[in-house]
């Protein structure tokens, strides 16, 4: 749920920036870190990377959440979050 929330905020910011940008990556990393998720273990996809005014932009975040029961098993659960916003930059 924390990853979902960060993704939604990132999608809004991506719309405001008009696409993928270092500021967006920094913002998302800060949000994930605040939620206890290591940004280095997360795959971020922004499509399209540059978006026009009123065009949809999608931010997807994928991570692998480690789950383990000591002495029994250890595995990872794939978590995927996506959100769509709209470009707000009139180029």
């Amino acid at each position: 749920m924390a990853q979902d929330a960060a993704t939604v905020q990132a999608a809004r910011y991506a719309g405001e920036l008009g696409g993928d940008a270092p500021e967006l990556r920094r913002f998302l990393a800060d949000e994930l870190r605040a939620a206890g998720i290591d940004p280095a273990r997360v795959i971020v996809d922004v499509a399209p990377s540059r978006v026009g005014w009123r065009e949809p932009i999608r931010v997807s975040v994928s991570s692998a959440y480690p789950v383990s029961i000591p002495f029994l098993f250890a595995t990872t659960v794939p978590l995927r979050s996506s959100a769509i916003s709209r470009g707000e930059v009139n180029r």
Binding site: V8, R12, G15, A83, I84, R86
Partner: protein
């Protein structure tokens, strides 16, 4: 009457009785967790859809008077983006995202103050509101309490600042 005090085999009986109950409780808890995640996603979908619709201002009016006024197609934009957002969570939904969005009660209040007859709220800025019933699959509840679909009621409201 020594067999009354004989507890050999009682652990097996206890396990046979308690293990199914524990499994049912575990399944119920997992389903509740999944439902909570689904509810958060649906709420976020509605929030983002109203935000997108509100961000799209009437540019001519903004240039002319500096006033914020909703774009004429705010309702359509909110509905379209609600469908797009729900589509991302389609495996959780019991109906198509388009159908759910089409059935949603979307209202745009272009001028303020305005009163929402559905929620009873007063809006002091131009506002977009979505109210929708979103059916979510809950197969474990279906097996346990014959309720395979749980309907989430969501209301999202956004105004520009």
């Amino acid at each position: 009457m020594s067999w009354i005090r004989d507890d050999r085999g009682s652990v097996m009986v206890l396990t046979l009785v308690v293990a199914p109950l524990l499994l049912v409780a575990l399944a119920g808890v997992l389903q509740l967790g999944a439902l909570r995640v689904a509810a958060a996603r649906v709420r976020a979908a509605a929030d983002l859809a109203t935000l997108v619709a509100v961000n799209d201002q009437d540019d001519a009016e903004l240039a002319r008077s500096g006033a914020l006024r909703l774009s004429a197609d705010a309702i359509d934009v909110a509905r379209e983006y609600f469908a797009r957002e729900l589509e991302l969570s389609s495996p959780l939904l019991d109906r198509a995202a388009d159908e759910i969005a089409a059935g949603a009660d979307v209202a745009a209040y272009a001028s303020a103050p305005a009163y929402d007859t559905l929620t009873g709220s007063r809006y002091d800025r131009p506002t977009v509101r979505i109210a929708a019933d979103v059916p979510v699959r809950t197969p474990v509840f279906g097996a346990l309490v014959l309720r395979p679909v749980t309907v989430l009621h969501v209301v999202a409201v956004s105004s520009p600042r």
